[in-house]
Symmetry: C2
Amino acid sequence: MRISQLSAESGVPIPTIKYYLREGLLPPGEATSATRAEYGERHLRRLRLIRALLEIGRLPVASIRKVLAAVEDEETPLHRMLGTVHYAIGPDVEPHPDTAEWQQARADVDALIDQLGWAVSPNAPTRDELAQTLFTLRSLGAEAGRESLIPYARLAEQLVREREMATIPLDGPRDAAAEALVIGTVLYGKAFDVLRRIAHEAESARLLNAHPEH
Amino acid sequence: MRISQLSAESGVPIPTIKYYLREGLLPPGEATSATRAEYGERHLRRLRLIRALLEIGRLPVASIRKVLAAVEDEETPLHRMLGTVHYAIGPDVEPHPDTAEWQQARADVDALIDQLGWAVSPNAPTRDELAQTLFTLRSLGAEAGRESLIPYARLAEQLVREREMATIPLDGPRDAAAEALVIGTVLYGKAFDVLRRIAHEAESARLLNAHPEH
């Protein structure tokens, strides 16, 4: 297809497509003349992935480039490619204080992951992210330990195992797997967060025998 | 106790306590002379709540004032007071497009809540928040409907019913209930979100037979 059709099918304006081509985010089409190129399905898939990383993952162009390098390099195993996407869309972890309390929180996270039997890189930034939350809970005086996190971990495991990983097409094109991971992680994460807050309201109404206000 | 001790016990600096007193966020102590006042347990509890709303809920002072008004007014039923806290700490809902697709997403959210049998105010901002997520999913071409949200809703219900509401002291001081709600909603919400992403990495490793990298 021509660039105009690629724009129509993807919903991405032509100047934006040209910008992605210049930045090397989108591979060039097949040149059919000095001024024309043909684009195909893989360009459409790539545009969907770029849009997901940009609009849903809210990644800067430099991070998108890094993710796309892992997507394109077939030597990068799929698990590692998915990890690159995951780490890129996670929040920046705040620098942590070098205190005994922080070290304890981090050690508790490592022990929790061991106890769960989860295979997780020792360098995963999510370890620090969870330690930060545990540290904050404790600094507020909450009795938060491994035990209080286990029910959450078990629910997360159930959700991911029974439903979420099945939505990632692991044996199709790598762009499509990366796109599904971004959308699933960010948007279904948001959906769960708001459903949990709605459930709080409903449960509060039930326990306190209140009726919704009109 | 004197203001210096209130500061020591709460960890809140004296100038900050004086600022809260001037802003009316903290009720005045009992005057024992022209320049001295005595503070008690309720001042400590109030400082804990203000800190949670400010540092964890990240609320501006105007919103904190609104929450505290509901906490202080004993005529405001507990369920409604908790709702005020909940709505205040939720994200601002973006203005939504007035399109048939958006209306459909919102109608689907209302139908979902009915189907679940949850007692939720028709004016709850969380309804629009969930509709926004559903709308975004669909605009990306994802087949997202009520069915895809039900497993998330059931998990949220289980979590809130079996564990989370039990952490809110419903028969103690109202400040303490509000504080527990802020901490539980925000920090355990974060904990679940990061545990879910860690579970993704572990499940990806399991399915793809990969080993964590060192």
